[in-house]
Amino acid sequence: MSGQLILLVEDRPDDVELTLRAFGKSNVTNEIVIAWDGEEALDYLFATGSHSGRDPSLMPALVLLDLKLPKVDGLDVLRRIRDDERTRRLPVVVLTSSNEEIDVITSYDLGANSFVRKPVDFVQFIEAARQLGLYWLVLNEPPKIP
């Protein structure tokens, strides 16, 4: 499973650092690619813009998506992912600060696979990262053709 990569879409450097640490602590060793805003996330997935040199056939095993993002916000990114043939089956976990009802509902309506609120308590965060890694990268069986 270590060959599979995770796309982390997150604009706060602190959160990026903590997320990487949490995955490290929970022994998730997959490569983690970071997109700092929604636009970059889409560029990466579709090999456009700053990621135009990338091989678009290589898709991440999991997208961790924050909702409050500069340029293109998380829900729009999710919408575009689900609208495109190439990414419609991609596992997307919304990983965000709030659990506002409207965010949860809209995320699921747009086809999010999970909704996880980042806990303030870092010990809990590590536990969340461990379970996410275990579930999505080990237990979950993705379709053969993504």
């Binding site: 903590l18 600060s97 709030s98 303030v120 308590d121 870092f122």
Partner: protein
């Protein structure tokens, strides 16, 4: 469809006269000599008008009227009764039995026709299915010059109009009121009231103000157009103008008018009815004859008693009252008439043979409006009658104008108030909506942005503790743990505050909620938490309430959570959820045997951030009970707490079963 008129009179002369007149007015007539004939006719035909003689060879007119009113073919018909004036009692009976009008014999044919038409029009206004009188446009020409009048008449008739003529302004107004011509041509200069005044008076009458008027002026009058328009005329022309021009103007005015509808209101200018009261039949007949020749409709009474009976049944426009009568005298009759609210405004002129200033003073102090000697010239009498009627008319017009102005003013004020109210309400709703949106946006932002830095504080403190474990002494590690505890507490505060604001904003969805099941589930959650607490939960089964299930869960989470928390220091903790009936209302309660509280702080419990324990003793944010309070409030219920220090606490609440409480 022409109106059908049934004429029932045993006198062949009367029948022929009225049939001829109604036929000429375009009506369909059915002449009958006996009640039996009329009855038969009414079996087969629906009639719109019945002219009914009171004295019939085979029936009593009033009895027949009763019969007529009960028949479907004539129940809604206009009924005019005819009778000789000797029978005041019949008139009163007739009016009370449902006659629309009562005309004394000898009658004036034109008046019978015009009054019938007026009543029919009123019926039409009340009930659109009644046929109207045929409508060949009628033009009324008011001019004292016979030459010009006749020239204009023949021109108009040539153009297909029906023509009515009047020689004076008063006569013109009378005819206008009774016949409702489609247009009026009036000379500016007339022997009595001038043309401008005629038009002004027409404009004041609600029933006639829509009638187009052309004012005729002499060639020498300066500013004629201005004068004409000032009076309210729709147009004017000079007498030397070509008649063809006049006809063209008329046609244009009538075209415009054809679009509008005629209002139907009782005209102020209609034929005037005068009640003459005198014990001398000779004088009464003479007076009536003279007044009728002046165009008045005269009702006669032979005594004060009859007069009183009459005015109660029949509206009149002027009363002429003899001062000296056997039985009830003139002054006493006058006093009584003036005491009747609806009749007291009718002008009353006292008649007397006496040349006596004391009698005059008596009469006026009894309430008479004027006084005249019988020996006076008849001209003087009619002039006074005219003056009194005109005075009354002005009063009526003024009152009508005042009432109209007042009601318009009230309408305007009411409309303005309603508009202002609506505006204020709309502004308030807008404002509320805006505030709500602001609040939504605010709490959304709090929920997202305020927690992020806390994650950094907690996360990096933990990283320091882990990565630099060997290099940090105990104090440094302790400080970092305090930093983390504070950050986490802040996180809880934010969550609780958001919940409090959410329960205030969220829409209420009432459903049947099994509170017992919710309590069991919350208790299971609490028992499943980390820690070695053992709390005995006692939940009364089968408690159901009509409420918002999510909010009810929040209530029980808070209350049971508190009970769980405040029993942490007792040996065998027991938390109970149940309900009891108090004064017919269901009171739910959560009772514990924990640390309790001092009752003097009971009212502080439900305000946000009010805590009765130190953070070290029992952790908490002080927002939970405020949230409970808000939820119960929104359900139209009440919440209160009781307890004592060291003896546990009970929080009780009610939920209003009706859907009142929170309408939002």
């Amino acid at each position: 469809m022409p109106a059908t008129v049934l004429v029932l009179d045993d006198s062949l002369t009367v029948r022929m006269d009225l049939v001829e007149a109604f036929d000429a007015a375009g009506c369909h007539t059915i002449p009958c000599g006996t009640a039996a004939e009329a009855r038969e006719a009414l079996q087969s035909e629906k009639v719109d008008v019945i002219i009914l003689d009171v004295l019939l060879p085979d029936a009593d007119g009033v009895e027949f009227l009763r019969e007529v009113r009960a028949m479907p073919s004539s129940a809604g018909a206009v009924v005019l009764m005819l009778s000789t004036e000797a029978q005041v009692r019949d008139r009163v009976r007739g009016m009370q039995t449902g006659a629309d009008e009562y005309v004394g014999k000898p009658y004036v044919t034109g008046y019978v026709i015009s009054r019938t038409q007026e009543l029919l029009r009123a019926r039409v206004a009340a009930n659109a299915t009644v046929p109207t009188v045929p409508t060949v446009p009628t033009v009324l020409i008011i001019d004292d010059s016979a030459t010009f009048r006749e020239a204009l008449r023949s021109a108009c008739e040539g153009a297909g109009y029906q023509v009515l003529v009047a020689q004076t302004g008063d006569e013109g107004l009378r005819i206008a009121a009774s016949q409702r011509p489609a247009a009026i041509v009036v000379d500016g200069v007339l022997p009595d009231i001038d043309g401008g005044t005629v038009i002004r008076r027409l404009r004041l009458d609600a029933a006639l103000r829509g009638t187009p008027c052309l004012l005729l002026t002499g060639s020498d009058v300066r500013g004629a157009e201005l004068q004409a328009l000032d009076a309210g005329a729709d147009g004017f022309f000079r007498k030397e103008d070509d008649v063809a021009v006049v006809l063209a103007r008329l046609a244009a005015l009538l075209r415009v008018r054809a679009v509008g509808t005629s209002e139907d209101t009782r005209s102020l200018l209609g034929p005037k009815k005068i009640l003459a009261v005198d014990d001398s039949l000779t004088y009464l007949n003479e007076l009536a004859g003279l007044l009728r020749s002046e165009g008045y409709d005269v009702v006669m009474a032979h005594s004060g008693e009859e007069a009183l009976e009459l005015v109660a049944a029949q509206a009149v426009d002027c009363i002429l009252l003899d001062l000296l009568m056997p039985g009830l005298g003139g002054d006493e009759t006058c006093r009584r008439i003036k005491a009747v609210p609806l009749v007291r405004d009718v002008p009353l002129i006292m008649l007397t043979a006496l040349e006596d200033s004391a009698a005059m003073i008596d009469a006026l102090s009894a309430g008479a409006d004027d006084y005249i000697q019988k020996s006076s010239d008849f001209e003087v009498l009619t002039a006074r009658v005219r003056a009194q009627i005109r005075r009354k008319q002005f009063e009526d017009e003024n009152r009508r104008i005042r009432e109209e102005l007042l009601s318009k003013e009230i309408e305007t004020l009411a409309a303005r108030a309603a508009a202002e109210l609506a505006e204020t309400r709309a502004a308030l709703v807008d404002e509320l909506e805006r505030k709500n949106q602001e609040l939504e946006a605010f709490s959304y932002s709090v929920s997202h942005d305020l927690r992020a830095p806390l994650r950094s504080i907690d996360g990096f403190s933990q990283a320091l503790l882990e990565d630099y474990e060997g290099r940090l002494d105990d104090t440094a590690s302790d400080y970092l743990r305090r930093v983390r505890a504070a950050a986490q507490r802040m996180g809880e505060l934010i969550d609780d505050l958001l919940e409090l604001s959410q329960v205030g904003r969220a829409e209420l969805h009432r459903d049947l909620v099994n509170l017992s099941a919710v309590a069991e589930s919350v208790a299971a959650d609490l028992s499943g938490r980390v820690g070695d607490r053992h709390v005995k939960f006692v939940v009364q089964p089968g408690l159901e309430v009509h409420a918002d299930s999510r909010l009810m869960r929040a209530v029980l989470e808070n209350l049971l959570g508190n009970a769980w928390k405040f029993t942490s220091k007792v040996q065998s903790a027991v938390v109970e959820f149940g309900a009891e009936d108090r004064d017919g209302a269901t009171v739910y309660f959560v009772r514990d045997n924990g640390s309790g509280f001092d009752m003097k702080y009971a009212d502080k419990l439900f305000s946000p951030f009010q805590r009765l324990h130190s953070e070290a003793e029992f952790p908490g944010t002080g927002i939970g009970l405020a949230t409970v309070h808000r939820i119960v409030d929104r359900h139209g219920g009440r919440v209160w707490a009781s307890g004592a220090v060291g003896q546990g606490a009970t929080v009780s609440f009610t939920i209003s079963s009706s859907r009142t409480g929170d309408a939002a």
